[in-house]
């Protein structure tokens, strides 16, 4: 296992290889939140169409849900910068 760790350390010191992997990390990490936010906003639009007088409450809950899901995509974005530099 120590030889594997030293191999990873050598990989981390080469700049070009790491940037590609870091970009791939963010790309893969943005799939889930993309699907999640799309589904969430779609369901909230459907709820607002069914019952327009509840639109205010649905909108507030939608923003809350979007904030939680978007945080995951942005943590991936920060990981990209950590992996690059």
């Amino acid at each position: 296992m120590l030889s594997t760790l030293s191999l990873l350390a050598q990989e981390a010191s080469s700049g070009i290889d790491n940037t590609g992997l870091a970009a791939l990390t963010y790309g893969l990490g943005a799939i889930g939140p993309g699907i999640g936010i799309g589904y969430l906003v779609g369901q909230s639009v459907q709820a607002m169409a069914r019952q327009p007088e509840a639109a205010g409450m649905v909108r507030t809950t939608m923003f809350l849900g979007i904030a939680f899901v978007e945080a995951l995509a942005l943590i991936g974005f920060v990981v990209f910068f950590l992996g690059q530099g």
């Binding site: 979007i66 974005f77 920060v78």
Partner: protein, 253 residues
Amino acid sequence: MILGLEFPSLPHITNWPEFLGGDTIGVNKVVLVYFLAVVITIALFTMANKKQMVPSGAQNLAEISVEFVEDQVVMPTMGTDGLRWTPYLISLFFFIFLTNIFEVVPLIQMPGNARIAVPMFLALLTWVLFIGAGFKAQGPLGYLKSSLFPPGVPKALYVLVTPIEFVSIFLVRPFSLMVRLFANLLAGHILLVTFAVLSASLVTAKWYAIFLPLPVLGVIFFTAFEVLVSFLQAYVFALLAGVYIGSSLHPEH
């Protein structure tokens, strides 16, 4: 360099040099943005202190924003006895919104929250406040018991639920508040810089100056989008602070 373009490196667009002061304490563009946000908020609420029955001018603007925060942030999340927390949420909302909006103001195009120090401080402050509100409303042991051992869970599942609740309430909440605000603003700043560099380099180009309308339209559209994102991130930060404090004041039972 990509296709002969010199994109500025990340420290070049976020680490600004000081223009006042020196080694230990200095003022750079980011400090100026924070200072302006605080000064504008204080000036707005001082000028609004006219106490007219029919408001006009600055008092009208201040009353509209207080009503917005009360109706859209406090009432849905904390109910009527959360109205005590309105001053904190108004300060949070105004400060974050004004530091974010400086990203699109022409001469100062730098969002204050693109450096992680102040979002970290705001997240820590909100963390201390929601734990303190929980301690005050339910007593220290009562708060820890009601948040770490939520009622309505079969006793054998506490082995699984309690570590998850601990990490989710005490570790992930402040971290996600900080990263959400910081990364949204940093990403918007980098996007605007990219499109601006593309436009500036296509102006003095050869035959491919024909593509100039595309990054220019990109800058215009993303500037409008960044105005929306500035407001939305301030609203979401205040809303989540309200949700966390509200869940400390009124535990589910």
